[in-house]
């Protein structure tokens, strides 16, 4: 296979990309939409709008209020009077109203202090978040040493009047917020979608317009042409991802440790090659360019979600966890998170090895199907 011929054929595919702005938009818009979604979710998921009414005036009431006010990770708090709080609850401006009643101090002295919680319990996800947070505040009030520990301290323990203490051990000495945890994998989705849609659509157009047969008549070897198609898809991915990563680093959204740059290149190159290989499969197996474009986007989204891009795989049912073992995105997303978030990314070499193994398989099958389709129509 001549390298020059390969590069020429690859450049030809890249020029075709430039002439298809709608297809390019088709490849880029879904990942951008996903980024927008996850950014919004990070606002909604992390804190809950809550109204706090402090009717008690004694030291216990003040301490209880301070504990609740300090919990900024859980509550987006508005301190107000009872009437305002109820109006806010009625108009759904807050999810919950917490009232420290006027009798709180005397009740605490009798051992019967009650923090009143009124909850707009539409579903148990947000409701339980508030319940847990209020319970946590009450526990901290009863036993001040029971404040939430910091995962950066690898070990922390405390005692309390509940006769149960928790010695919490954290697997990772790090704090990754939900926003970064969810948003970073969308880079993988971008690479996947662009590689998959681009390669699949070009292959399908060749098939539909009959140019696939013309390619075979060219003096170049079939393997050169097939390799150029897959290489072209992968190069487009990398051309798009590289400036995105550089820009993210520049604005401080990500911080890539210098020693992890080769791993990062490996992750995106592996994902791009994989996407291109799968694209070749879809482009040859499915007839009709619009079907191919639609299916490619759907497939990329599913690979992203099932690979843990939209949720934590640990929470998925067992059968789905077993399925995700075979998906390339599981390894690219996992490796990317390890490289960018965790100080000791010991699992990266293994993830990269499996990712490239799957990529090789995808390219092998994709190339075989592409070649067969061009030869036999």
């Amino acid at each position: 296979m001549s390298l020059r011929a390969l590069l020429n054929a690859t450049m030809h595919d890249l020029y075709r990309w430039r002439r298809m702005p709608f297809t390019a938009a088709t490849a880029v818009v879904p990942p951008l939409a996903m980024m927008l979604i996850l950014s919004t979710l990070s606002i909604g998921v992390t804190t809950d709008p809550t109204a706090l009414v402090v009717e008690g005036r004694g030291p216990y009431s003040i301490r209880m209020a301070q504990i609740i006010e300090n919990d900024t990770d859980a509550f987006l708090l508005t301190v107000c009077d009872n009437a305002t709080a109820n109006a806010m609850l009625e108009s759904e401006q807050v999810l919950a109203v917490i009232i420290i009643p006027s009798t709180f101090d005397s009740d605490v002295k009798n051992g019967t202090g009650k923090v009143q919680l009124t909850l707009y319990n539409v579903d148990y996800d947000s409701s339980d978040d508030v319940r847990r947070a209020v319970a946590m505040s009450v526990v901290e009030f009863n036993e001040p040493t029971f404040a939430p520990p910091n995962p950066s301290d690898t070990n922390s323990s405390s005692t309390n009047p509940y006769h149960v203490s928790f010695d919490e051990n954290y697997l990772r000495a790090t704090n990754v917020d939900w926003f970064h945890y969810q948003l970073v994998p969308t880079f993988v989705l971008m690479a996947l979608n662009v590689g998959l849609v681009g390669t699949a659509v070009l292959s399908s157009i060749d098939e539909e317009s009959g140019t696939a047969r013309m390619r075979i008549l060219s003096p170049q070897r079939a393997s050169t042409l097939v390799a150029s198609r897959i290489l072209g898809g992968a190069i487009v991915c990398l051309l798009l991802i590289t400036p995105m990563l550089l820009f993210s680093e520049w604005i401080g959204f990500i911080s890539v440790p210098t020693d992890q740059i080769p791993a990062l290149i490996g992750i995106f190159a592996g994902t791009a090659v994989c996407a291109s290989g799968i694209g070749a499969m879809v482009g040859t197996l499915i007839k009709g360019t619009k079907h191919v474009a639609f299916l490619s986007t759907v497939l990329a989204t599913y690979l992203f979600i099932l690979g843990g891009g939209f949720s934590a795989i640990e929470f998925d049912p067992r059968w789905l966890q077993s399925l995700s073992v075979f998906l390339p995105t599981t390894y690219s997303i996992d490796a990317l998170r390890q490289v960018l978030f965790y100080p000791n990314p010991t699992g990266v070499p293994m993830s990269l090895a499996v990712l490239w193994l799957i990529a090789a398989a995808c390219v092998g099958v994709g190339a075989l199907l592409l070649r067969r389709s061009w030869l036999h129509g």
């Binding site: 951008l32 209880m64 807050v94 009650k114 847990r132 995962p151 939900w178 079907h291 934590a312």
Partner: protein
């Protein structure tokens, strides 16, 4: 039969013929819509019931009581029991579980003697949101434990009043709103393809010289796509209701909401199809627009909870009103501050507006 009626029926018949030849596309759209419901549940699962291992070295009654509280309090943990602590640590390290709770052998004895039992917890702190859920769930369980056993020193507790007598499951809540998304994906895509195909195949030029207004046969096409969409959405509704065991409180309200959605989204799809005139990008574009619109519509919690700006922005999406009606029809929940009649009115307004938009876009392109 008048000329216009014949043209309308002709458009319907032509679209029916086209759809018969595009069975793969319909299958793909249906597949996407149905499996999206499954994907939504995956996100819903992440919010609760953290997969947790429990190693219990204690055989006394208090450890059992504590485990019961862990299991039932606030949907915090999905417990799996294991006897080998080292194997459990490995499972957490491998990412199969996010947490392991080890109850010591002297748990019951220590508490009965008035001492403190130390429970060891291993947490895979993959992100702060999940870690803080676990961090809060453990003391919350201790609070319930202390209250139930009436320990001295537990001087304050929580008295809760709920607006609704029951908590709706997060997954169920999301599925009800996902049906609105499904109607957008199905009706939007098929409506867009019906019109875009007319322009792509150049048959739109022939409509321009027809003896009737060109919009009439075009609307016939959109009507067929809406009818086929209704059948497809019906299938996804059956899948969701039967698969997840959801019984809607107001089935008629649910059906009417979905029909209104189909009208809105078919017309919006038609407008998009006329604007873009190409079948290839239009289908993907509908899909790409559907997800953000869905999440800005109160699909996972009332939009009002996300602050004024996001809530105000959500008002520009028809899905906001549709999700409000849907959650009320299925679960009896009020998830928008606006009254139901206003939601119906605005959604009907969207239907008329999108019909007009589809007409304007099509006429412009035909000229």
């Amino acid at each position: 039969m008048g000329r216009q009626t014949r043209a309308f029926l002709g458009g319907m018949s032509a679209e029916f013929g086209r759809l018969r030849r595009s069975r793969l596309m319909i299958a793909l759209v249906l597949f996407q819509a149905t499996t999206f419901i499954v994907l939504v549940t995956l996100f819903g699962m992440t919010g609760a019931n953290a997969p947790t291992l429990v190693v219990n070295y204690d055989s006394g009654p208090l450890s059992q009581k504590f485990i019961n509280i862990l299991e039932n309090d606030h949907h915090a943990f999905a417990l799996t029991f294991i006897s080998n602590e080292t194997a459990g640590e490995n499972l957490v390290a491998e990412g199969e579980y996010v947490c392991m709770i080890v109850i010591p052998a002297n748990f019951t004895q220590n508490i009965q003697e008035g001492e403190t039992a130390n429970v060891t917890v291993y947490v895979d702190n993959i992100n702060t949101d999940m870690t803080s859920d676990i961090q809060r769930s453990l003391p919350a369980a201790a609070q319930t434990f202390g209250e139930q056993l009436r320990f001295e020193g537990v001087n304050a507790s929580v008295s809760e009043t709920d607006i609704y007598p029951y908590d709706t499951s997060f997954v169920d809540y999301m599925i009800a709103s996902a049906l609105v998304l499904d109607s957008l994906i199905i009706a939007g895509t098929l409506g867009a393809l019906a019109v875009a195909d007319e322009f792509e195949s150049k048959t739109a030029k022939l409509l321009a010289v027809a003896p009737v207004h060109p919009l009439i046969p075009l609307m016939g096409r959109v009507m067929t796509s809406a009818l086929v969409s209704a059948g497809a959405v019906g299938l996804t509704v059956l899948f969701a209701l039967l698969g997840y065991g959801i019984t809607p409180m107001d089935p008629l309200g649910m059906a009417l909401t979905l029909l209104l959605c189909l009208a809105v989204f078919s017309c919006l799809g038609a407008a998009l199809g006329a604007a873009i005139k190409r079948t290839l990008p239009v289908a993907v574009l509908v899909l790409s627009l559907a997800l953000p619109l869905y999440l800005y519509s109160g699909s996972y919690e009332p939009m009002r909870f996300d602050g004024n700006n996001i809530w105000l922005a959500a008002h520009f999406s028809p899905e906001y009103y549709a999700v409000g009606l849907m959650e009320h029809a299925v679960f009896g929940l009020e998830v928008t501050p606006e009254p139901l009649w206003l939601l119906v009115l605005v959604l009907a307004g969207f239907a008329i507006g999108s019909l007009a938009l589809a007409g304007i876009c099509s006429v412009r392109r035909l000229r």
